[in-house]
Amino acid sequence: MPIELIIPLLAAAVQSGTPILYATLGEMITEKSGVLNLGVEGMMMIGALSAFWISLATGNPWLGFLMGGVCAAMLAAMHGLVCLGFQGNQVVSGLALTIFGVGLANYLGTPLVGTQGIGFSKVSLPVLADIPVLGAILFHQDVLVYLSFALPVLIWAFFRYTRLGLHLRSVGENPVAAATAGLNVIGLRWLGVLLGGFLVGLGGAYLSLAYIHLWTNGLTAGRGWIAVALVIFAFWRPGRAVFGAYLFGGVMAFQLRLQAMGTDIPASILMMLPYALTILVLIASTMTGRGGEAPAALAVNMEPEE
């Protein structure tokens, strides 16, 4: 493939990888605190819808973006209530959250289908955008992409260099030990659930505000599930999440381009590619035996004493 095709493809990979990156990092924070939230798909949909609607109503896309995160965090709070408040089953609650979130967003979003929204457009960064090849791929994007560049570093530093990050990790690894060290396990896990839900919501908001400026039902199209798989692929490390998200973004962008070019391969096969890759990635990461890097107390509720 000639270079003038590859560069736009890679730039598109970064763009379509960005919502997945936000969601993966969000789910990663939640899982690091020991809570498995399979409601990512539902939270992304709610985030996407509320961001779209609020920026449309207020004319302020930044407010919409922020509220996308807040609304998704409110949905995550339901998961927190079930799992942390009542010690409910995390898998069941997460699945319910996905079904509920997707259904609610599609229902409330029906009147908006086809509406042109407002959102973020591409802004070339001065100087950086002029770097050959890299500039065109990384620095001719919208501002939310630039924001997402900083996130993995921030989250990595958060877990390594802050007291709160250390505490959050400890309740995901051994909540009983954390409690005997005097930490508030339930409170810390609430933080993990809400903060994670917020980031997942931002991922959804990116879809409706920057990826396309249009509302369609089923906008997330399984990206939430890909994020869940990517957390495993990334071995719960923010740095690897970047790589995984752009890999998936690349496959998504690639299949769109192939469809647009009109190949003989049926469209449904092409559309299947990212999801087939999800399965392959899960098999590969399980086979390397690194699945053991999951937080030791992931999805384990801490029972109140006696």
């Binding site: 250390l166 009983v176 954390a178 060290a181 005097g182 004493e305």
Partner: protein, 512 residues
């Protein structure tokens, strides 16, 4: 003093303890019930700085409840705790830690994925920002000051059990705890590690700290404690100076409340046919292992944990295939034996990890019993549940499993009773080869005694491979002893061989 002193609190004779220093911590009439169960009842005692108090009691005597109240994990229903004469209230572990009470739990409270330094400082970090380097430096200074050989940057997952305990002690030292509580601290330690621990306890007591130490092992209580307190059914039945206790037997009698014999009579018998023959077995952690167990004998495999015992046992039990070499069970080759194992008169495995491997905690006693004996209760494809239930009721009564309702969940049993359930099940099968892995770990004296008797009885018809870290257990039960080190059997000899028995310690450390 409590308004109505019960006979239990009267047993604490104030003249027995010389009242030189004021007590660091004093309990007054502490009580705690769970529903109808009285876990602690009107417990009063005091401990002065620089003293080591051993707290003894059978499983379920209420030791853990008492300690949890001191650690702030449980709140007493009534009674008071005084710290340096001031009444204290612990609503959470945080309060208790802040008051200077430090606790080392039997199951270490460490985050395995984190480093030593991170564990020591967890919950004690001074600033929002933390630096792994600075943390390691700080903890490194502490290890040098107290001369504890441990690398602050190492991950917990890399450490031995003894080293993990040092990390727990570092936590207490860092927090400058004044009252240190150890819950069965030697249960997972090798004899040498236990000696180091006792030295550390003495040192810390020498610095004016008070130490409470819970144990089942009478020798170590008499060796290390200044005072001994005994709990029975939630009540304090006595509190003495250790030097006033003449012997192990006397202590055991006071603890159980009846006469117990610590020596178990064992007649020697003629070993019969080999039931297990391991030849040149080499594999992960195993290096040319040769071992024969005959019917009618108990072969004790001793060694420091992690020297290949687990791998050998799991191979014999059919959980992992042998590498090179041969394993013959009841005269049949490994592969053929496990291709079609019989439930009866065959092989029984009594695993170390009771809740993880031996039973399912969310299943009833009956269902757990059926896990390995179901073929005996089948008629065609149907399970004869009524018969099974009846058999379980008889068996749990015979093995004294308390409480022994066949329909209760196994997870509700205490460790000792769980082990008795497993023994009842495995012995029901009349197995000819029994592999018992740490069968009395964590059990109290009465339960240990019962388990030992059962094993000796099973020797009548079976050969037993007993894997143990407890040398006393090996010497009490075994006919032969094999010592394993780094996957090799260092030596293998009858217990009557006094000369070689003396060298066990050296052999366990790889020399001799």
């Amino acid at each position: 003093m409590s308004p109505n002193p019960s006979p239990a609190s009267l047993a604490l004779d104030p003249t027995a303890i010389p009242p030189s220093d004021p007590p660091l911590i004093r309990l007054e009439g502490l009580s705690k019930s769970f529903g109808p169960v009285r876990a602690s009842h009107d417990i009063s005692f005091a401990i002065r700085p620089g003293r080591i108090l051993a707290l003894l009691g059978e499983n379920g005597a209420g030791k853990s409840t008492l300690m949890s109240m001191l650690a702030g994990r449980l709140q007493p229903d009534s009674g008071r705790i005084f710290l340096r004469g001031e009444e204290a209230r612990f609503d959470s572990p945080k309060d208790s830690i802040a008051a200077g009470i430090g606790m080392v739990y039997q199951n270490f409270m460490l985050v395995n994925r984190m480093t030593v330094a991170e564990n020591v400082l967890l919950g004690q970090e001074k600033h929002f920002w933390v630096s792994p380097k600075a943390m390691e430096r700080e903890v490194g200074e502490l290890t040098r000051r107290f001369n504890l050989p441990i690398d602050p940057g190492a991950g917990i997952w890399e450490l031995s059990m003894g080293e993990r305990q040092l990390v727990e002690i570092l936590k207490l030292l860092y927090r400058q705890s004044q009252v240190l509580i150890f819950d069965e601290p030697t249960a997972v330690l090798t004899p040498v590690e236990a000696q180091h621990l006792f030295e550390a306890l003495r040192n810390m007591a020498g610095q004016g700290k008070s130490i409470i130490f819970i144990s089942h092992k009478l020798e170590e209580v008499l060796a290390v404690a200044d005072e001994v307190a005994v709990l029975r059914r939630g009540e304090l039945v006595g509190h003495w100076e250790a030097k006033d206790i003449q012997s192990k037997e006397e202590l055991a009698n006071r603890m159980v409340g009846r006469t117990v014999s610590l020596e178990i009579a064992k007649d020697s018998r003629m070993p019969g046919e080999p039931v297990l023959r391991v030849e040149h077995l080499t594999g992960p952690r195993l290096d040319d292992v040769n071992l024969v167990v005959r019917q009618g004998e108990i072969m004790a495999l001793v060694g420091v944990a992690g020297n290949g015992q687990k791998e050998l046992v799991e191979t014999v039990a059919g959980l992992r295939p042998p590498g090179s070499g041969s394993v013959k069970i009841l005269g049949t080759d490994w592969k053929a034996f496990f291709a079609n194992p019989s439930w009866k008169e065959s092989l029984s495995y009594i695993p170390e990890d009771r809740l993880g491997v031996a039973v399912c905690r969310e299943m009833t006693l009956t269902d757990n019993f059926l896990l390995t004996t179901r073929q005996g209760f089948c008629r065609g494809p149907w399970l004869r549940r009524k018969l099974a239930r009846q058999t379980v009721a008889e068996k749990v009564a015979e093995f004294n499993v308390q409480p022994g309702r066949p329909d209760m969940l196994a997870g509700r049993l205490s460790g000792g009773n769980l082990q008795k359930l497993v023994l009842a099940r495995e012995f029901y099968r009349n197995s000819r080869l029994i592999v018992a892995e740490q069968p009395t770990q964590g059990l109290d004296i009465s339960s240990t005694e019962e388990v030992w008797r059962q094993l000796l009885q099973a020797r009548e018809h079976a050969g037993i491979l007993l894997v143990t870290g407890d040398l006393r257990e090996a010497m009490t039960l075994a006919d032969r002893i094999a010592v394993i080190f780094r996957g090799r059997i260092m030596d293998d000899f009858p217990v009557e061989d006094q000369e070689r028995m003396k060298r066990i310690g050296l052999l366990m450390a790889g020399s001799g």
